[in-house]
């Protein structure tokens, strides 16, 4: 018995029924006409909406002023190289913090969902950690770490605001991601865990081979959402004096009395976050036809 991997309506319609040849062709024509009509409507509505917006902006009395203040080609070319090199700090911090966040989040989630009595104190610690770090604004955490920890003058503790600010970011996002992973683990039915035990795996093996693969798959969309947020929040390190893209743009803008550098920085963030958003759409796509909205 073999079934088609993807039963689609096209295949179903392609089954020729006796005396049905004419209707099948008619259905095909009707479907094509419907597609063409849809495309035409989408195009016309785009022209009206986007064109209308463009006209409204470009004919406004303030536009010449805004254009020279925010979209100056000269200011852009002058500031862009500096901002781009500062942006590498954002990228590096993002990549490193991201890895730490994934490991920390997964670890906290696993501990919090454990049932071993010996781990009770760790479960409590995990819960406190998540509550505290989820509940404080990230910018405040970065301040507290960046300025507070050096003030303690502890031996062997780093004082570099870049490192301390990154730690604050990692702890904050670690708590968000821990909650995401935890929700994923809890969404896997208890019977899956029992089947793992029944085939002779121990608890850790069951977690590793049965529960986590399913849980992680299920939470990929919210996880990637948090990555996009993290990528943007690296800019908050500016508050403790780290000169990353946003801060560099601010410095340039202050020096030239022109806001174009900020637009340049915004474009750089978009260059990273938009591909991530598309990736998010891609991995969140319904993988079977029964999911998602009906057309």
């Amino acid at each position: 018995m073999t079934r088609p991997a993807h039963p689609s309506s096209t295949e179903a319609d392609a089954i020729p029924a006796p005396g049905d040849g004419g209707r099948q062709a008619a259905r095909e024509r009707a479907r094509k006409a419907k597609t063409r009509r849809g495309q035409a409507i989408a195009f016309a509505s785009s022209v009206v909406v986007l064109g209308g917006l463009a006209v409204a902006v470009f004919t406004s009395s303030g536009w010449p002023e805004v254009k020279s203040q925010f979209f100056s080609v000269e200011a852009f070319t002058d500031s862009f190289p500096g901002i781009l090199s500062a942006f590498w700090i954002d990228v590096k911090v993002f990549l490193i913090v991201e890895v730490v966040v994934l490991i920390l989040g997964l670890f906290v989630a696993v501990v919090r969902t454990s049932t071993n009595p010996a781990l009770f104190p760790f479960r409590v610690l995990g819960a406190v950690y998540c509550d505290v770090f989820r509940g404080i604004p990230v910018v405040l955490l970065i301040y507290l770490f960046g300025f507070g920890i050096p003030a303690l003058a502890l031996q062997g503790v780093p004082t570099d605001p870049l490192i301390l600010g990154s730690i604050a970011l990692a702890l904050a996002y670690g708590s968000y991601v821990a909650e995401v992973f935890r929700a994923g683990i809890l969404s896997i039915h208890r019977t899956q865990f029992e089947s793992g035990l029944a085939i002779g795996l121990n608890r850790l093996q069951t977690l590793r081979h049965v529960v986590l693969p399913q849980a992680v798959r299920r939470v990929r969309p919210p996880l990637l959402n948090d990555f996009i947020a993290l990528q943007k929040d690296v800019a908050l390190l500016a508050v403790v004096g780290v000169i990353e893209a946003y801060r560099q743009a601010q410095i340039d803008a202050a020096a030239t009395f022109n806001y174009t550098p900020l637009v340049a920085a915004a474009l750089l963030y978009l260059a990273v976050t938009i591909p991530m958003a598309r990736l998010l759409d891609y991995i969140s796509r319904p993988d079977d036809p029964s999911r998602g909205m009906a057309k």
């Binding site: 089947s195 081979h209 399913q214």
Partner: protein
């Protein structure tokens, strides 16, 4: 309690259940169960919904902890707290009513995961055995398929293969056909029949009286947490000696379930 039940409960079988009690809070589900499953023997557990069949099977696989009494596997007490449950479960196969295959793994991986990870077989060896069994039970072309692409009957056959592929000492089957459409029941029972013919030791909770009568050597009737009648399959099902058994079987016949 019948003589049959007590006679065999002397610690001589593959599985020996001795005076086992189990309660969930206030609810006493097992009230002193004695049952032995001998080598190559198939014992069917029958009884109404809620009588404790699943609970008894789960106690044997150490998925539930007994409150009182003991369970022995090959003469060794497995219900002692010092016993490693993982080591016990490696010697037993369990099949759930709802298949419980791993949806993220393909059919062959479902079958090999336990044996490979728990160190019972090398991966190559486990895959060879898995392929051989899949081919033998008409699933040879499905090894790369994810479980959700299979019919219920095929999924349950994979679950059965997963359970017995590592050659367990005994199989515990918990109503393996009751989640299936009627037309799929036959293919699953056929597999169980073959296992019985091969001499697999089995404890089978089931609502299929015809099947129990055919495949099981003995039938144990459970009601309200007690084994009211244990005996040869044909005897218990065709001419039960206890009035409760008669009533239960009568209800089944009336409901058209038998």
């Amino acid at each position: 309690m019948t003589d049959d039940g007590l006679e065999t409960a002397d610690g001589a079988g593959v599985i020996d259940v001795l005076s086992v009690t189990k309660a969930f809070g206030e609810l006493e589900v097992l009230k002193g169960i004695d049952l032995t499953v001998g080598e190559h023997e198939a014992v069917a557990l029958i009884g109404a919904s809620g009588s404790g069949k699943s609970t008894l099977l789960r106690c044997v696989d150490l998925l539930e902890e007994v409150d009182g009494g003991d369970i022995l596997l090959d003469g060794e007490v497995i219900t002692d707290p010092s016993v490693d449950p993982v080591a016990v479960r490696k010697k037993l196969g369990f099949v759930f009513q709802a298949f419980n295959l791993f949806p993220h793994l393909d059919v062959l991986e479902n079958i090999t995961l336990g044996a490979v990870q728990s160190g019972q077989m090398k991966r190559k060896e486990a895959e060879e055995r898995g392929r051989e069994l899949l081919a033998r039970f008409g699933l040879g072309d499905r090894e790369k398929e994810k479980p959700d692409r299979l019919s219920g009957g095929q999924q349950q056959r994979v679950a059965l293969i997963r359970a017995f592929a590592p050659n367990p000492r005994a199989l515990l089957l918990d109503e393996v056909t009751s989640a299936l459409d009627p037309e799929l029941v036959g293919e699953v029972l056929e597999l169980v029949r073959e296992l019985k013919a091969e001499g697999m030791t089995m404890l089978i909770a089931t609502h299929e009286m015809g099947f129990a009568r055919e495949v099981a050597d003995r039938v144990a009737f459970l009601e309200g947490g007690r084994l009211l009648e244990v005996g040869a399959a044909a005897t218990v099902i065709d001419s039960p000696s206890e009035p409760e058994t008669r009533r239960f079987l009568g209800r089944l016949h009336q409901g058209g379930l038998a």
